[in-house]
């Protein structure tokens, strides 16, 4: 026969449970501290080395053989232009793909295969994307070692991220909202256009920005497609290049990006260049953190008006 525990036994039991609580708490804290402290040390070291090098000239100068005169103008302009191409390609494709998978596709083995592949693609090493781009965009399509090629490559790279986060955003919209809209006589596209996309926007934007902040730091695929490491000119401003100058000449321009510039400087023997690399890394980290902060802020702002 069982009997109720007497109070002393209950207290002993609770003490034992509490001990585990405490141990796990401490373990978790230690794990967290290892991660955060490592990152913080690296960041502080980089900041101490790099910050003295930051000046207006650093942002407005091209790379140079002399470390003290070298800057990151071509690198940050290149990064921003490549990100623009990436976003313009990856955002519509990713959202459309996700909407199709969530709202249109029938559940069958084919969609299962596609789904598994998208998840796998997110885990493919980025250099593989570089090799794909080298074979496809450069050798097959002849797009050259250009901003366009880099943008397309990084777009492929972040497409799985955009698709996955968009799908999650759509899936988090309750089914009864869809039913309510359909019951009003809305067509599938109307439900998507009037409800799912607007309500999913905070999540979708977050995914897009997280994807872009991943892309901005990618080095391997950019090296593979042959970004130059020493670029002392900017891509042509629309309509100003050699005639016949067009709106999109910059897409075909050779380029460099921040991580490439950093990589180049780090591999030089002169320690003055290492200082440049630290300064550029500091800027790159800020670009990434800035984008993440923007994502958080946007999500917060937009979510305020969406509740079920």
């Amino acid at each position: 026969m069982s009997r109720p525990l007497d109070p002393a036994e209950v207290r002993a039991l609770i003490r034992r449970h509490r001990r585990w609580d405490l141990m796990f708490g401490i373990l978790g804290l230690i794990s967290l501290a290892i991660g955060i402290l490592t990152l913080l040390t690296l960041f502080i070291d980089m900041a101490i080395t790099g910050i003295p090098r930051l000046s207006a000239e650093f942002f407005t100068s091209f790379p140079s053989r002399r470390a003290s005169q070298a800057g990151i103008l071509s690198a940050w302009v290149g990064s921003i232009l490549v990100m623009m191409v990436t976003a313009i390609v990856a955002v519509p494709l990713g959202i459309a793909g996700a909407v199709y998978l969530e709202e249109y596709a029938r559940r069958n083995w084919l969609t299962d295969v596609i789904e598994i592949n998208i998840t796998n693609l997110a885990g493919v090493p980025s250099i593989i994307y570089g090799l794909l781009a080298l074979g496809l965009f450069i050798y097959t399509f002849g797009l050259g070692q250009s901003i366009l090629t880099a943008g397309l490559t990084l777009a492929l790279l972040i497409l799985p991220i955009v698709i996955t986060t968009t799908r999650e955003a759509l899936r988090s919209i309750p089914q009864y909202i869809r039913e309510g809209a359909y019951a009003c006589g809305a067509s599938r596209w109307q439900v998507i256009r009037h409800h799912l996309l607007p309500y999913g926007t905070p999540g979708i934007l977050t995914g897009v920005i997280i994807g872009l902040s991943r892309a901005i730091g990618e080095t391997a695929p950019i090296i593979t497609i042959g970004a130059l490491t020493f670029i002392a000119f900017l891509p042509p401003v629309p309509f100003t290049g050699e005639p016949p100058a067009g709106l999109f000449d910059w897409l075909n321009s050779p380029f460099t990006v921040m991580p490439i510039q950093i990589f180049n400087w780090t591999s030089r023997p002169d320690p003055a260049f290492h200082q440049n690399a630290a300064a550029a890394s500091f800027v790159l980290v800020f670009m990434t953190l800035g984008m993440n902060a923007l994502a958080i802020w946007l999500r917060y702002r937009l979510r305020k008006n969406i509740a079920w």
Partner: protein
């Protein structure tokens, strides 16, 4: 199991009629040869224990099942006056939903303004004239007894309303498009007694213009608001008749047991 159907001595105008309706989720048969009339501008209540198929039956009327794979209809639901079979695969479910609107169990306003919620059905129909929309929104909110509370806050988010107000907003949304039938799927099960009372009053008011089909698990509610009652059990229609007949002198033992609380 054959249904016991008692038609009223003076049957009114017929709005819809289910004939030998079967419904399947995959291989599972959720509705078994259901035949019953729906009279115009009357309230027909569907009652029965959980899982009896009353919501499934209701959701056939606006083809809600079409949103999900694995559904199959057999038999027909004719909608009058044009006698179109709304379950016919040739009939677009959107057309059906434009004629028959629905109010759900849990209030489900869109995360938009009060105004946009009510106007949504009209927007879907491509209506853009602002003054027309304004008029229809006001008319629908008045019919849903929400105008006085909402008129000064039409631009506020609908989710800021209380649960009862949200449900009345959903009724206004369903009314704004001048539907021929409104389907209510346990519209008060998420509401407190006072809000429930106001929704019931509303149903009695709305039926002057619109035919109403209401699913309820609350028998007092069925007795209070409905003109006709259908008792369903395990996918069968057991008994259909005038509400007072069903509640005062049911023909079938099963109905009597359920209504008197001996079962279910």
């Amino acid at each position: 199991m054959p249904s016991t159907i008692t038609l009223p001595a003076q049957p009114g105008e017929l709005k819809a009629e289910a004939r030998d309706l079967d419904f399947f989720y995959g291989a599972y048969q959720a509705l078994k040869t259901i035949s019953m009339p729906i009279y115009a501008r009357k309230v027909t209540a569907l009652i029965g224990p959980s899982g009896c198929g009353k919501s499934t039956f209701l959701r056939c009327f606006n083809r809600m099942h079409d949103l999900y794979p694995g559904h199959r209809y057999a038999g027909s639901i004719q909608l009058f006056p044009d006698a179109v079979n709304i379950l016919d695969p040739q009939v677009d479910p959107i057309e059906v939903r434009m004629r028959i609107s629905m109010v759900f169990q849990k209030p489900n306003p869109f995360p938009k303004s009060i105004y946009e919620n009510v106007a949504y059905g009209l927007r879907v129909r491509g209506e853009k004239r602002r003054s027309y929309l304004d008029d229809k929104v006001e008319e629908a909110l008045r019919s849903a007894a929400l105008w006085n509370e909402a008129k000064d806050r039409l631009d506020e988010l609908a989710v800021n309303l209380s649960g009862g107000q949200q449900q009345r907003l959903c009724i206004a949304r369903a009314l704004a498009t001048d539907p021929e039938i409104i389907l209510f799927d346990e519209p008060t099960s998420a509401l407190d007694p006072i809000a429930t009372g106001s929704i019931e009053e509303l149903v009695s008011e709305i039926k002057k213009k619109v035919t109403i089909l209401i699913v309820t698990h609350n028998m007092q509610q069925a007795a209070r608001v409905s003109d006709f009652t259908a008792y369903m059990y395990l996918g069968d229609l057991v008994e259909f008749g005038e509400t007072k007949e069903i509640f005062m002198k049911p023909r079938r033992k099963e109905t009597e047991d359920y209504i008197t609380g001996r079962f279910g």
